[in-house]
């Protein structure tokens, strides 16, 4: 079973702090499936500048960032698998779309998001993915179809 630490992830994804939203890969089966985590903390930029005395619900991790984190996890699977297969990805990694997204729970500072993502369909430089996001034994989101694409422009990752 392949696992990846943060340093490995930085070699695969072009994203950097504070928008690199994948911390660690627990399992990776090339071309098929990935399980990765993202720890939510109170020092996330999304909590900066909030007013005092807000209710607990104000600290729910934003769904937009959850979906982005999911998409990045899928991109790790896609780009890692492509690299292993000897296929070079040249261009800019772009979030295409997310459909059939159901949010069934919330994550708060201190929680660890665990995304399980499968590649559903690959068409050239376009990857369709689906999966779920869990916090412990609670499933908090199901994502029916997330599209990531690579388009001509800047290079993906930093290489090395």
């Amino acid at each position: 079973m392949i696992t990846l630490e943060h340093a490995d992830i930085r070699r695969i994804l072009p994203h950097r702090h504070p928008v690199l939203l994948v911390d660690r890969v627990l399992e990776l089966e090339p071309g098929s499936r990935i399980v990765a985590t993202k720890t939510v903390t109170g020092s996330e930029p999304c909590y900066a500048g909030l007013e005092e005395d807000l209710p607990a619900s104000a600290y729910a991790y934003p769904a937009s960032l959850l979906v982005e984190s999911f998409g990045q996890t899928g991109a790790v699977l896609w780009l890692y698998s492509a690299a292993m297969a000897g296929e070079r990805s040249e261009g800019t990694l772009i979030f295409g779309s997310a459909r059939e997204v159901t949010i069934t729970g919330r994550a708060y500072p201190g929680d660890v998001l665990r995304h399980t993502v499968e590649i559903d369909q690959l068409i050239g430089d376009n990857a369709f993915m689906r999966g779920e996001t869990w916090v412990g034994d609670r499933r908090i989101a199901t994502l029916g179809s997330v599209l990531a694409v690579v388009r001509e422009g800047l290079a993906v990752g930093t290489g090395s």
Partner: protein, 85 residues
């Protein structure tokens, strides 16, 4: 128009409408996806992906530029899938 063609057109119309987030009735045979429904290259690849999945066919990406309206999509898919509608 043959029944099979009508059925296929309806199926394709449904797929296109879902991706472009409009009602199926709004998708006419010759209405441009780009001009009438603000489609872009990402929507186009989503339409292609769903069609490939539904009919279990491969459509070369080189066909994408000509899939600009429902009739054109039908023609491309009919060719790739070998429909004799």
């Amino acid at each position: 128009m043959s029944e099979a063609r009508e059925k296929h057109l309806d199926e394709l119309r449904e797929i296109v409408a879902e991706v472009l987030e409009v009602e199926p009735e709004e998708i006419t045979e010759t209405g441009s996806f780009v001009e009438e429904h603000e489609a872009d290259s990402l929507r186009a690849i989503e339409i292609l992906a769903r069609i490939e999945k539904k009919y279990k066919i491969d459509i070369p990406q080189s066909e994408l530029p000509q899939m600009e309206n429902l009739k054109a999509v039908y023609d491309v898919v009919a060719h790739q899938a070998g429909w004799q509608d």
